[in-house]
């Protein structure tokens, strides 16, 4: 009796889980269906679950209506600049935090946590002012600069936690062999932190690829528009051209989605790693 009840409970959980999953996938699925409808055709009168005659040319139209290829190039430049800088700054700082005296470590960790509580709106005004003073306003550098502060203090904390899990003898042995701080970090610490490196790379990529507010605030010259601004332009040019709008949204989502699908098993299947993935 009890066994049967548990079996029913398990089945119920499985079915509820399936329903919940469907609900969470639905928005993206609806976008996919809408993206391949014929552009300019009368809108659907009943809900569409399938498109028998997909119009893939909508995806090409995204690049014709606005210069999306250029915006995509700019976005890629920002990511190519910001992600390596983020990795360098955060892993160096994380290494230092994990190795220095307890007192300094506590101080830096407290500072990092406090900075996580500062909303981005709080720095809008003077980030703008600073960029004006530095002559970086209205350039791609305006979008890259946060990388010099490790993009998020969380990344420094992630690297610190990672290095703290490595036995101290590993580092001491390297130092006795005559390795300096730089070599110890590059040859010993970094190779032992692959999951964190992958995690921070993905999170930083998503952060800069998706960033909409910074270009709205700091970019005025259309030559430096990034993809999020391109999408908003697409929306302003033809706000009723739903197939093309959805195609544009999906193009922008695609790289993030691919990364997520490749890496989700690291943090969603193996639950012990779950704590690593707090997105800021």
């Amino acid at each position: 009796m009890r066994k049967r009840l548990r079996l029913i409970g398990g089945g119920l959980r499985l079915t509820t889980g399936l329903l919940v999953s469907i609900v969470f996938i639905l928005p993206l699925y609806w976008a996919v269906i809408a993206s391949v409808r014929e552009a300019g055709a009368p809108p659907p009168a009943t809900i569409a679950w399938w498109e028998p005659d997909p119009h893939w040319e909508n995806f090409a139209a995204v690049f014709e209506i606005v210069p999306m290829a250029k915006y995509m190039g700019n976005s890629l430049l920002v990511v190519a600049g910001a992600v390596p800088i983020t990795l360098l700054v955060s892993s160096l700082a994380g290494f230092a935090v994990s190795q220095i005296a307890q007192q300094t470590r506590d101080w830096v960790i407290n500072l990092s946590v406090a900075m996580l509580l500062i909303p981005s709106a709080a720095v809008w005004l003077f980030r703008f002012q600073l960029l004006v003073w530095l002559g970086l306003l209205d350039s791609l550098w305006a979008l890259i600069v946060p990388a010099f502060a490790a993009s998020s203090p969380l990344f420094v904390l992630l690297f610190n936690w990672n290095y703290r899990r490595i036995p101290a003898e590993t580092f001491d042995a390297a130092r006795l062999d005559g390795a300096g701080a730089w070599t110890t970090w590059w040859r010993v610490a970094l190779p032992l932190s692959r999951p964190t490196l992958i995690g921070v790379t993905v999170l930083a990529f998503v952060l800069y690829w998706s960033d909409f507010i910074s270009p709205v605030l700091y970019i005025y010259n259309p030559d430096w528009y990034t993809m999020p601004i391109g999408l908003q332009l697409l929306n302003q040019v033809g706000s009723t051209n739903w197939p093309v709008l959805m195609a544009g949204s999906l193009i922008m989502t695609a790289p993030v989605l691919v990364l997520f699908l490749l890496l989700q098993r690291f943090f969603l299947h193996d639950l012990s790693l779950a704590g690593l993935f707090d997105r800021n």
Binding site: G17, W30, I33, F95, V108, R175, L231, F260, R265, H269
Partner: protein, 299 residues
């Protein structure tokens, strides 16, 4: 051996280099985050248009805020949003984490599905929901009609426009979901076995074991969500409604943006930011007080 090691360690410039490693992060944070945030607080008491020199005006900006209808509306909107979205997102994340914490390949994919909306870039996500919420032929209203329900006008009327933004942001809860999943892994399985032996109902197990042991995590997420609500309404209200209809979705970040970057009234924008941050701090402290007086837990 030990003394030799210590001697060598003392002699090499290792410690100095570690400090140097820390420097880029500290300088970057100081220049890009800490000083701008402090400067914003200072400018709240001045008149400043981003060019020229700020001039001290004391509390005048705060007086202007109190007299402004827009500020009052945006405060009410923000309060409604926070009051609905923060609990909904938290309860949603908790419920889903409890439902999907099972082992097994299938549940791994379920968890991935729940996390999925969180990774979609903001503007793309907003545009997708702009389509979903379309009152005439958006899939949501067609689905509601198909179910025989009366479809609302969503973004076209004030009340439903606010609800729409709460609804769309309630799907982006991957972060809280993953944090709570991690939190649940820290609860020893033996607690649940003991409860089952004692014949506790599942509700009792939830209120006596799961909830108290997750309390620190839930508290952390509440605070983070409160802070986040100072920024995550910006893109939806900017792209979907631009603050409308009738200012119903003019949340605080959008108003700050308009005051600062349309009118270049940096002083007033900074004052609004300080005011909202004060309100948030009061909420955080009273929640903390409430929790501490109710329960005693150690994080």
């Amino acid at each position: 051996m030990a003394s030799l090691m210590q001697k060598r360690l003392r002699r090499d410039p290792y410690r100095l280099h570690l400090r140097l490693f820390l420097l880029p992060f500290l300088i970057g944070s100081l220049v890009l985050v800490v000083l701008p945030a402090l400067a914003t607080m200072a400018v709240a008491f001045t008149e400043y248009n981003s060019i020229g020199v700020p001039s001290w005006v004391g509390l005048e900006n705060f007086g202007r805020l109190m007299r402004s209808d827009y500020v009052r509306i945006s405060m009410v909107n923000t309060a409604i949003f926070v009051g609905l979205a923060v609990p909904l997102r938290l309860i949603g994340a908790l419920g889903l984490a409890m439902l999907l914490q099972q082992k097994g390949r299938l549940f791994g994919w379920y968890r991935a599905a729940v996390y999925l909306p969180t990774v979609i870039p903001e503007v793309a996500y907003a545009l997708i929901w702009l389509w979903i919420f379309n009152p005439l032929y958006g899939p949501l209203n067609l689905a509601l009609g198909w179910l025989g329900l009366d479809p609302p006008a969503w973004l076209a009327t004030p009340v439903t426009a606010r609800l729409a933004i709460v609804l769309m942001l309630s799907f982006q809860i991957g972060e809280g979901f993953v944090v709570l999943l991690a939190g649940m892994q820290t609860i020893p399985k033996s607690f649940y076995e003991a409860a089952r032996v004692d014949g506790a109902s599942s509700w009792q197990t939830f209120t006596r074991i799961t909830l108290p042991l997750l309390a620190p995590w839930l508290l952390l997420l509440t605070f983070r969500d409160l802070i986040l609500s100072l920024q995550n309404t910006f893109t939806p209200s900017f792209v979907l409604t631009y603050g409308g209809p009738y200012y119903a979705t003019t949340f605080a970040p959008l108003l700050i943006y308009e005051i600062a970057f349309d009118f270049f009234d940096f002083g007033l924008a900074a004052a609004l930011l300080v005011l909202i941050y004060l309100v948030m701090a009061i909420i955080v402290l009273s929640v903390l007080n409430l929790v501490q007086s109710r329960t005693e837990f150690d994080a």
